[in-house]
Symmetry: D2
Subunit: 89 residues, 4 copies
């Protein structure tokens, strides 16, 4: 199975989890249980992030390095730094 | 509109965002754009968390206080502390 | 050893870690090593937070419950919710 | 003032904040106030992280790009990805 498929499958599961929380809210389930479920979704999203980031390093970044194009390489680094900064907020 | 509806609507939007990311992955869109989109979903989930937590304070917790039942109150506090701890990890 | 002492000791270690990072910066050490060290400090602070929070539950909150004073109890809950919200940002 | 000095000054302030929290703990100050203070330290550390990361991009990464050395560039990317992953946990 390719990484794209693996990431797609994880996202499909996350979509199901979000629908599950909607159901819980509609059924007036206990708030604390809902909050734990939301935390589980956030963890699952963090795993997708890591996988996408590794994919990115393995393809786009590797390409920029192979190209020997300094502007392209600089751009790739700046994108990562921007993303990192945004994640901190 | 009740809080339950407001929370339900937010979750429906988040479900749409997750489907949007699946689409982006399937279309082989640029990794960095996908990562920014995932961060947007995490922010949206954090807002739902705050809203559910406030609801919880306004209903279940208020009830426990009104009941004057110390065991019930203790349980409510412990649940919040556990949740807080889990959020840190 | 009381909890207060345990927390104090952890904080003394964290103070030392912060001084260590200052040293690394002054010596122009490698940025990535500095960043890993800062992450270690943030993890250590998270552990102190958990310990302080548990202490809080064990003393101030327990007292508010024992007092049977609803206003006092409400205040304790609201403080926790505010803190939780702030942590998310 | 150089970036190194600016970062050093921020860290000195953080060291002072950590000592302040030790004092608060020793004086048995209110737990919630201590927790807010710890959150302030974590925010201050996040700002130092961003600054160090930008410095890193401006010097070490720029150097790796200028060198045209693919192995060196790959290493720089991998370090960032590892750091990012660790930050998520």
């Amino acid at each position: 199975m390719s990484d794209t498929q693996a990431i797609g499958n994880r996202l499909k599961r996350i979509e199901g989890q979000v629908r599950g929380v909607q159901q819980m809210v509609a059924e007036d389930r206990y708030c604390i249980d809902i909050l734990h479920q939301i935390q589980a979704i956030k963890s699952a999203l963090a795993k997708v992030e890591t996988q996408v980031l590794k994919d990115h390093a393995a393809c786009c970044v590797a390409e920029a390095i192979a190209s020997g194009n300094a502007d392209d390489q600089r751009e790739k680094f700046e994108e990562l730094v921007t993303l990192f900064e945004k994640a901190k907020r």
